[in-house]
Amino acid sequence: MVMGELSQETEVLVIGGGPGGYAAAFRAADLGLEVTLVDTAPRPGGVCLYRGCIPSKTFLHLAELVLDAAAAAGRGIRFGAPRIDPEGLRRWKAQVIEKMAEGLTALARRRNVQLIQGRAEFESSASVLLHDAEIRRLRFRHAVIATGSRPIAPPGVEFRPGGRIMSSTGALALADIPESLLVIGGGYVGLELGMVYAAFGSRVTLVERQERILAGVDGDLARPLFERLRGLFAAMHFRTRVVELVEEEESVRARLSGESGEIEERFSRALVAVGRRPATEGLGLEKTGVERDERGFIRVDARMATAEPRIRAVGDAVGGLMLAHKASAEGKVAAEAIAGKPAQFDARAVPAVVYTDPQVAWCGLTEEEARRLGIEVQVTRFPWRFSGRAVTLGASEGLTKLIVEPGTGRILGLGVCGRHAEGLIAEGVLAVEMGALAEDLAAILHPHPTLSETEGEAAELFFGNAVHLLGKTPSPAR
């Protein structure tokens, strides 16, 4: 293929270079297919790399340092007050992103995946037009839509670059450390970024429409995090809506309406984190047979095929858990399906991690989901105050819980709240996917002292007592 040609053909066209798109492109190339990856950005990475997972986790690690240093004061080590340098933080974040972006670009090149910068729009079910690109038109044999999602802006609110009313993208740009920050939305994005700003010195106020944080997560797992945030955030308002949000010269004026009436308050900045919607508009999908649901998510089957046989879709654009690893797994399935392999997205335990401190992680069936669906389960809980390792870390507020099938003892789900939940959850994923029994988890050796012991002990509780906890009879959830 010669660059600069007006029109090109490709065997597999991938639209969107996020974790879903690049996983699909790389896998397809590894299977011997000829692949072109189009993204509006010059390099692959998508939301996850440039304005999602990677920058947020870069800052969260530093926030944790600050909080740990403060906590150490009560344990015999006193540091001076931290000096936060926004310029230095931004530079470090840029270095992290740069390193990853270079790596991805090299991986694409080594696989002969053609990268094209531009915005793709379908003009039929066999070709796309490219806007702002060197090539005008791409014809394809197969296409994978991986255009991801965008932050939702409430009516009347507009996210301007540099504006005081920010989406997660604006918050991660870290223009300054505002004196006060209003966080709208108690989901994981709002909590993570709220915690970053709080650790860096902002007075953070949280507003949430539901009655608690992390509405989709089991209440007992969210509880320790809630207790922590009570000490960290200036205020939290639940069952409260923002009825007006106006950007002023030096502040943002917000009118909040909740159970205790209306209050008006000014904040230096506001972060709106009320969810994301699929980036499937302006894609020209109406020129194809691709179907969407009421919320704009593309309908796909287990092989990621849309209603249009040559077009597949993956990642945030198809909904479900909007997470990077789910997008990547779907991307690989799409590529393998195109190559004629019997691939299918059949994950039973998609893990999710909230990187606050304490972290919250879960996979497989949750207790509340089981209750809602009427599935009988047995739940065991191992509180971390009985874990030696948790106590040494000063993390004894944590909790590990197992969701077990009553008759067989088969593990259906695992939930963790506490430090390093991000690593602990992997054992749960393996257990659920392999069809392991509580007995298996109880029988294997967990190194001592580690937090992973809490998983073994939660499994022991299924049979009555754990070494470090005399169990009451485990409570059936229904």
Binding site: L31, G32, L33, G289, D301, A302, R303, A307, E308, P309, R310, I338, A339, G340, P342, A343, Q344, F345, D346, A347, R348, R372, L373, G374, I375, E376, E405, G407, T408, G409, R410, E433, M434, G435, L437, E439, D440
Partner: protein
């Protein structure tokens, strides 16, 4: 709420297909995305996944049946309230409850809910076309292991088709096809390219493997002197063209073959192993192999015995054009009783064609070439330049013997060597 699942639009102008296998049965639980049926269109074999999660109420099709886009294939009880019942609660939009697995489900009976099995085992099941919910699990608390899946696939020859498995008497087990060893990494010896193996290519592979592994083939070769026929063809080419046809050697060969077949009924036949009978076909529908860009297709000229050379010439031209344009209908690809494959147009000389299962024989023609031939004139041998064409006939040795092949080829040759005789057959 009972939902109907109709044959979806399969794209690329495909309006109908033949049910190859039914993977589910009434009463069975299905999940969204699970494969319900395998349908073959004239373009490819496709697996049709379920758009719903629920319980199969009724399966309205069986293997071998032709279905059209929009036709109801299966009905599924989804457990959702129907819209008129009451406003659907928000939860109804979520996936329906995965039932806890019943570890003691009797073998062969599909069990409900997600089957405990590792991701690698689940992938293996997909590769072997095994419905996991039917595999008895030997692991702890009913866990299905990779060995269980392999054992299940080996026990049931067409594991992919539980419907067939349920009626063991329907067909004798196909000869065991041994699993091939894993391929070496070819790139160790130099650069390689891997391209997908799909659609028509895959369908052809399946058919050829079926035919080659089931039918003991014998191939006979005969040389035919077509010098006179070619002169005759050239003479009449123009008028036929004016009618919109193409008078090729294939047209003569079709007519001659149909005529000869009438005297060799066992060649125009199929072996019905299950019934223990030979099916003699009293109609002469001849397939012609056409090499298209996408692969091999075999459109059928019906009632060749009743048609004139002109009619065949016109019809064949149309079929070939539609084959290249991928416009053939399913009907035009079905019902053949015998097949002709002419490699001559591509410059091929001799080859051993594989029978178009379940027919009993296939006739192959090579390129006619000028050759020095010893002919006898008034009892004196002399050398002459003659146009000669090889004809090969592969037969199903279960139904036919070498003598049948020789007899067919001799009669076929006589007819083509003497156009007058061929024309006489038209009378």
């Amino acid at each position: 709420m009972i939902r109907e699942f109709k044959l979806p639009d399969l794209g690329e102008g495909v309006h109908e297909g033949e049910i190859l296998s039914v993977r589910i049965a009434a009463g069975q639980a299905v999940r969204e995305g699970e494969i319900l049926l395998e349908v073959e269109t004239d373009k490819a074999a496709v697996e049709i996944p379920s758009p719903f999660t629920g319980t199969v109420i009724e399966v309205r099709v069986r293997p071998g049946q032709t279905v059209h886009v929009g036709e109801v294939l299966v009905t599924v009880e989804t457990g959702e309230a129907s819209p008129e019942d009451k406003p659907a609660p928000a939860a109804a939009a979520e996936k329906s409850p995965p039932e806890p697995a019943a570890p003691s489900a009797p073998p062969g009976e599909p069990r409900r809910g997600p089957v405990p099995a590792s991701p690698a085992t689940r992938r293996l099941a997909r590769e072997l076309g095994v419905d996991l919910s039917r595999v008895p699990g030997s692991g702890p608390a009913g866990l299905v292991t990779a060995e269980d899946v392999r054992a299940f696939a080996a026990r049931i020859p067409s594991a992919a088709s539980p419907a067939a498995a349920a009626q063991p008497s329907a067909a004798p087990a196909s000869p065991a096809v041994e699993e091939a060893d894993a391929l070496p990494d070819f790139s160790r010896w130099g650069p390689v390219e891997r391209i997908p193996f799909r659609s028509l290519r895959r369908a052809t592979a399946r058919r050829m493997t079926l035919s080659w592994s089931r039918i003991p083939h014998v191939t006979s070769l005969e040389m035919i002197d077509v010098t006179r026929l070619e002169a005759f063809r050239k003479k009449h080419k123009g008028p036929v063209e004016a009618l919109g046809g193409r008078l090729t050697l294939t047209v003569f060969a079709l007519k001659a073959a149909a005529t000869v077949l009438k005297g060799h009924p066992r060649i125009n036949a199929s072996l019905d192993e299950a019934a223990g009978e030979i099916v003699l076909k009293k109609h002469y529908h001849l397939g012609v192999a056409v090499n298209t860009e996408e692969g091999l297709v075999v459109p059928v000229v019906r009632h060749v015995d009743d048609k004139s050379l002109k009619e065949i010439a016109v019809e064949l031209k149309g079929l070939i054009e539609r084959a290249h344009a991928r416009k053939l209908t399913r009907e035009e690809l079905q019902g053949g009783t015998f097949t002709l494959t002419n490699a001559g147009a591509l410059g091929g000389w001799s080859f051993t064609p594989i029978i178009h299962y379940p027919q009993a024989a296939i006739l192959g023609l090579g390129e006619a070439r000028l050759e020095p031939v010893v002919i006898s004139e008034g009892g004196r041998p002399r050398l002459a330049a003659r146009l000669r064409m090889p004809a090969v006939l592969s037969i199903d040795h279960r139904l036919l013997d070498g003598a049948d092949a020789v007899g067919f080829l001799r009669a076929f040759r006589r007819m083509l060597e003497d156009p007058d005789e061929l024309l006489l057959s038209l009378v």
